[in-house]
Assembly symmetry: C2
Homo-oligomer: 215 residues x 2
């Protein structure tokens, strides 16, 4: 990654909320399930929420070969990709100091159509394992027709801004006596009871990687 | 809202995944905690993850008056705002039919600096109540100095695309016999045990709206 530029410069107000460690960037990217991809189209900023996966400095996106947005990205265009994880609500005594605990990555790069069969296959495996580790070894792999319908786009991360808040209430001293409950309500994206497909082969046991799933 | 245009046109592959009902749009916007705001800056697509709230057709954003991004938005620029809720992981027998259940809004509009004191105050209340209904009545309200440090930006939604997936596994008939577990793993952003601020006034009871919180 290049040094910080005006695209990724931390705020003068909250320098503590920026993290320069690439490992923090990757931990956030690897935990997220959905990213947001921004690009410009005929003078209009556009956003696509989509799934993704990462290997090294490369983010992979995939979509239908018929998708308008993916056809734009196949041309090789500048994009901004964001992943945000919400960790909790910070309830201060004063409205002004209410906040959220979160971790976010905003990454800049250019799109590239992935065309080598090896990299496309690798991306398919990465996608599956990003969402559900263990799944690639069990599920039926893509066939030629399915691969033909899928476009893979790579974004090499040129630079990225990592931002987070991960602490408790920060009220002003003169508000500390107020009889208002203050604290953090942590939030977590939690798996609920798995819902087996009512169709198909019966008696297939629930895999451990589903039972014990957590991000 | 205007009719659908090329910005919000549904895909030819998944027409069922688009929803034209404004109530669906608002339900998603009212459940989300963080939105992503895309705009163009000097030829570069930019993204800001930020909190927001909604009233009618207006989204409100807020930030520090010193924020570079908010100063851009104060000028009145076209933006694209996205809110995405992840509802579950769809595990098919085939890798190709893996999917996610989700609900998303992608909205287009132009930013406007909110400068009337009444609308600014209203936005402050909406923000507080959007994140934690019941909080505005208890927490100390913003004072003049705090208000001076806060910029409120409005985005009137010109048009919006509502997209979702909310069904089970959709494998091909020829894969139904495979002995691979298939189903949906629902995900939910769940509150964990509240963490009271160790400082300040002691013995303040946990409010019902925190104890019973759910999105």
């Amino acid at each position: 990654m290049k040094a910080k530029t005006s695209r990724t410069q931390g705020s003068r107000y909250y320098p503590k909320r920026y993290d320069l460690d690439p490992a923090s960037r990757d931990a956030i990217l690897d935990e997220g399930l959905v990213c947001q991809v921004a690009f410009q189209l005929e003078g209009q900023p556009m956003l696509i929420p989509t799934s993704y996966c990462r290997e090294g400095n490369t983010l992979y996106l995939h979509g239908s070969v018929g998708s308008h947005f993916f056809m734009q990205m196949a041309k090789g265009i500048p994009v901004c990709v964001s992943v945000t994880l919400v960790d909790g609500l910070v309830l201060a005594r004063s409205v002004f100091h209410h906040s959220m605990n979160y971790r976010s990555v905003v990454a800049f790069g250019k799109t590239r159509l992935v065309d080598s069969p090896e990299e496309r296959w690798r991306a398919a495996e990465l996608f599956t394992e990003h969402v559900m580790p263990g799944r690639w070894a069990e599920a039926r792999h893509p066939n030629a027709s399915e691969l033909q319908k899928t476009m893979f786009i790579a974004v090499e991360i040129e630079e990225a801004s990592v931002k987070f808040r991960a602490h408790g209430v920060a009220d002003d001293p003169e508000d500390m006596h107020l009889g208002v409950w203050a604290g953090v309500l942590p939030l977590r994206l939690s798996p609920q009871a798995p819902e087996p497909d009512p169709e198909g082969q019966t008696g297939v046991p629930l895999p451990d990687y589903v039972r014990d799933y957590r991000r």
